[in-house]
Amino acid sequence: MSIFEPRYETMPREAMAQLQLERLQALLVRLKRNVRRYRELLADTRVESLDDLSRLPMTRPEDLADSFPYGRFALPLREVIRLHSAVGPEGRQLVMGHTQNDIRQWGRLVARQLVATGVTANDVIQINLGNGASGSYSGYVLGAQTIEASVIAEDPFHIDYQLAMLENYRPTVLVTTPTNAAALVALLDRRRIDPQSLHLRTVLLSRPVPEAERSALQSGLFARLQGNFGIAEVLDPGFCVQCPEGRFHLNEDQFLAEVADGELVITTLAREATPLLRYATRVSCLLRREKCPCGRTTVVLEPGARRDSQVLVQEMPIYDRQIRDVLAQTSAAGHPVQIEITGSEVILSLTVSTRIFDDLVGTLEQLQLEIESEFASRLGIKAVVRLVSPQSDPRAATG
């Protein structure tokens, strides 16, 4: 497999350390000059080696949420050509800006992943990431444009249309979520369609999956599977490159990684609009510096579980607090509720008063419908409401 930017991806360790030190020092100067909050925190702080990084203040997701929307921007808004939102702590909104250079660089970083996956200018790429992933979608489009591959600029929601596109447009590369890939495998199976009749050569998954799931998807789609790992607030995709050996190589010319108490902490070295200093990602991680047969010299990330209450529902990051906030907007506000989250839906066991429980079926259906439609419109996820008699649910908590 080829390497898109060998200058950076295979840079000798000493040269990379020099580049990172230079970029870190310049970043601190820019943060002190351009971002008031960092100026107050950093004062006269200087770094003379990468080891000094641990002396610098951390940026927590809560800090970003507190300075929403533009408090951490390092450039005037008129220089920002794109704004992407991300889900912050407890569902609070975060916004990340990109300048022209940030966008161009993003394209190059995603191109590194695509090239590592074997994508070339001759490929046709279908991207099915579903709702709530517009940021990632545009990242993949930028990467594909950078290597001049063809992109099908449609992301139909219904799996039937996705399959129709795979059959009609004959894409050779599919970028999708593990959930969607599994749904495609099931659909192919149900319709007795041989995956080899499609023209797929490579499938790039939006997040890492366990080996067993990976093998199942790989055989179900009859294509090589590569994964992606990103942090939405930092960059996703384009954060790291999964090499043919299956290792996640961090783009170290752009990001400086540390692990503090088991948590991945990232400093953006070259981002212009929204630089981040020691951002606590809330993701468990191990860093490995080892020689990789793929030729890349950059540090390898082994991402683990999230360390906060964020879960994925239909690939959308959701916090418990968001669910309770939506419930509070409905007639169910104040009723005891038990929340169960699966990968595909939120199951709400709502304990209603005996009076309501004994009420007309129509009232109950109306309540169910109201809650389900609030979840669909506010969070874009499916909620299943079960009405529980107070006598049958002694564990219910107050929502």
């Binding site: 020099q18 003379e48 450039l75 008129r78 161009r104």
Partner: protein, 239 residues
């Protein structure tokens, strides 16, 4: 890596001019350091050349530690400085200036012939006193004098200073040709447009610190560079 600087601090008396700068120049690159007057660019270059003792930090040229080395040691490491304001021997002829540039080089007469091939105008004026040349010709002579030492790494301090735009183009064309011949160039310039046009990578220096680093194509699009150095103004609309 031809030049590697880490945390360089230097200045004059108690005045710190360069405040902890790190940068590097890889073999075969043209790297430029741009910044306004008084940013500390020339002081940094003087430290690299051994003319200004660093207070702290590391300077390595082609892997050799240059801190506390005399300036002439640089020449034997195949590094030559073309100083700001040319610093020619104005009472000597063009030929004599070139001869002095090859002081360390036993093959200097042969090299001078090669240099004169590159700069036909100098050949025409070989017997002319350097002080009587035009600004552009003097800059060519300063460059030619440096090349007689057969450098593999050349430091250029403000080569466009005081030159007419056409002459600037000509000087930068010579710099571009140097790269083609395999010479590594570290160019310190105030003329950001010209410098970013010729270099592969650039550093932007303000009040003794590097504020930006990157490939020149990226820096030309950077809002801060455009505003401060490329004359593209805007009203501040933030905070």
């Amino acid at each position: 890596m031809w030049l590697q600087i880490k945390n360089l601090r230097c200045g004059y008396g108690s005045l710190e001019v360069v405040k902890g700068v790190s940068l590097h120049v890889d073999a075969g690159e043209i790297v430029t350091l741009i910044g306004a007057n008084g940013a500390g660019k020339s002081s940094l270059l003087r430290s690299v050349a051994g003319l200004l003792a660093p207070w702290r930090g590391e300077i390595r040229v082609n892997g050799h530690d240059m801190v506390s080395q005399p300036p002439w040691r640089n020449v034997s490491n195949a590094m030559v400085l073309v100083p700001e304001g040319r610093q020619l021997f104005t009472d000597l002829t063009v030929w004599e200036n070139l001869l002095l540039g090859g002081y360390h080089n036993p093959d200097r007469r042969m090299v001078i012939a090669e240099v004169l091939e590159k700069f036909p105008r100098l050949r025409e004026r070989a017997r002319q006193v350097a002080g009587t040349l035009s600004g552009g010709e003097q800059q060519m002579l300063a460059l030619g004098r440096a090349l007689v030492a057969r450098p593999r790494f050349i430091l250029l301090d403000e080569p466009s200073m005081g030159l007419a735009p056409l002459m600037v183009q000509e000087v930068f064309e010579v710099i571009r040709r140097l790269k083609e011949e395999g010479v590594t160039v570290f160019l310190v310039e105030q003329n950001a447009t010209a410098a970013l046009g010729v270099a592969d990578r650039a550093y932007v220096m303000e009040t003794g610190e590097i504020i930006l680093e990157g490939e020149t194509a990226d820096l030309r699009r950077n809002p801060e560079v455009r505003r401060a150095y490329l004359g593209k103004g805007y009203k501040e609309v933030w905070e």
